[in-house]
Symmetry: C2
């Protein structure tokens, strides 16, 4: 969470003048996003999030990401629209960095979701999957099994053992298992792939916004559900499984988009893959984030604990959990 | 700039329920303040800044700081009011930390003020000095000459030389000069003492808000003007003096509160003191901020350059600069 770049009042006002949104009234750098800087902007017309893309996001992907927001919003999903400038462009450039103006949505992120809230999240995720079917752009999943494997190998056993002595064996064993078990041919389309509580805004029990689609990629819808399950059904550190949240999330999803049997059967493996996805990126960040970076490193072991849970209980919890 | 503490949606909603401000609609951690965490809060009624006091601020000082906001706002100064809870308290406590809900004011901070903007800042500062006269609370200046001296001695010649080889001689010579030249008996009262551009919100050329009074203390009004002069009349790094900004700032101040001759005569020394105040605290932070802290260290040399300017040209620029 950081604001990596300083934008002065003059630059902000100059930028806003390219949009039909009224004059600049207020701008506050907000502590959200690890790959970009964000400001909460108020104009005489409305409020917006201004995002500057700093790292990890390829400018070539922006038409995909920003178009996806517009597509999902147009299909009734609670997703912020991209504000286009007077010439119709979805993003502009300041000092060589791309910036986009995005609709502000009300709501707050919950830390400890209730079952009712998890049901709403499941519904909202399923709605994006249905709407994603008609989105014409696609983006290859760059953080799939091959990438987890490469990242874990690049970290190396010794460095991983420095994080936790148990980590290397767990990670390498899991990669072998996943390589032999990963399903093929499941229904797929554009998925959020990072729907943590941070990325969901809620008003009471209702989802008011799904945000931060910058990991969105074409993947199995059931994998996206598995990522969301891993993100929501445990306490932050993965120590405590929350059965009622898990059940409600799956039920909410299936109330909108019922899973095929072969999707549901694949969920335990997909959930283990979801854990590997975050173990690999967090281990990489843990080992390679400079100590003076303005971000807080996240502990890969939070997802090792989830992985061990899914190894043990995934079939019981997932394979029949959401069946109506 | 940082948010040091995570506050969950439940904690935020629970806090807001103690105030008569409507229900929580949105909360964004904002990247402002180095001694506290801040959130921009929206309720069904209005917007507010929620501040959690983390470091450097003594809870015993809060009634002074928060009462000062109310006093200045009631006297027509563009200062955010403190929102009191249903029991009338100006602040509450979460997990042992004090938090206050403060009025949101529109406006953006300018980087490179124009002369017109500097005139407005001078006016606004002078208005707070006039209004401060009737504020019954007071707070001893803890960052005065004695503190600069102690801080610089605590840093030590060797460590200061590690920042810049010229720094130790400049700092120790200056402390000797100031000890022998510091004026006494100037008009005094509660001063902001930290009125950098960051702490001024503007709408166009008009000051819409003075914020962050957490260094406010009883001191000479002319010293507060000197601090403001040092903060506004140079580029950030102190390399370039901006004559027209300097002249406008002083003229704006005197248009509301004309300086006595002996105050104006003292300005060159007070401005050198203002530089020492920031040299000493920045040197201390530079040497003692852990590398993993979520703050950006500021270079003490930015104020050494200002100091050298005031040594050379302070009398010419300040002693007659603001004379109508």
């Amino acid at each position: 969470m950081a604001v990596y770049t300083h934008l002065g009042a003059r630059e902000l006002a100059g930028l806003i003048a390219h949009y039909d949104v009224g004059g600049l009234i207020s701008a506050k750098g907000i502590a959200e996003g690890v790959s970009n800087s964000n400001w909460l902007i108020e104009t005489s017309g409305a409020r917006f999030i201004l995002t500057m893309y700093e790292r990890r996001i390829e400018p070539a992907d922006l038409p995909f990401f920003l178009g996806l927001l517009d597509h999902l919003a147009a299909h009734g999903c609670p997703v912020p629209r991209t504000i286009h400038d007077r010439e119709g462009a979805a993003y502009r450039t300041i000092d060589g960095k791309a910036v986009a103006l995005i609709e502000f949505l009300p709501g707050v992120s919950v830390d400890q979701p209730t079952a009712t809230q998890a049901f709403s999240v499941g519904e909202a995720l399923a709605r994006t999957h249905l709407a994603a079917g008609s989105y014409v752009q696609s983006r290859m999943q760059t953080l799939g099994l091959a990438a987890w494997d490469m990242t874990v190998h690049d970290c190396g056993r010794d460095a991983l053992a420095g994080i936790d002595p148990a980590l290397p064996d767990i990670a390498f064993d899991e990669l072998s298992f996943l390589a032999g078990s990963w399903p093929g041919g499941l229904p797929h389309g554009v998925c959020h792939c990072d729907l943590f509580p941070d990325n969901v805004l809620m008003l009471g029990d209702r989802v008011s916004g799904l945000i931060d689609f910058y990991f969105a990629a074409t993947d199995f819808f059931a994998y996206d559900l598995a990522v969301t399950h891993a993100a929501w059904s445990f306490d932050n550190h993965g120590r405590q499984f929350r059965d009622e949240v898990s059940t409600a999330l799956l039920a909410g999803y299936e109330s909108i988009r019922p899973l095929a049997d072969y999707e549901r059967d694949a969920l335990p493996v997909l959930a283990r893959g979801a854990c590997m996805r975050f173990i690999s990126s967090r281990a990489d960040d843990w080992l390679n984030t400079p100590p003076d970076a303005l971000v807080t490193r996240k502990d890969p072991m939070d997802f090792v604990r989830r992985l061990l849970f899914y190894r043990e209980a995934g079939a019981a919890v997932l394979a029949g959990g959401g069946k109506p």
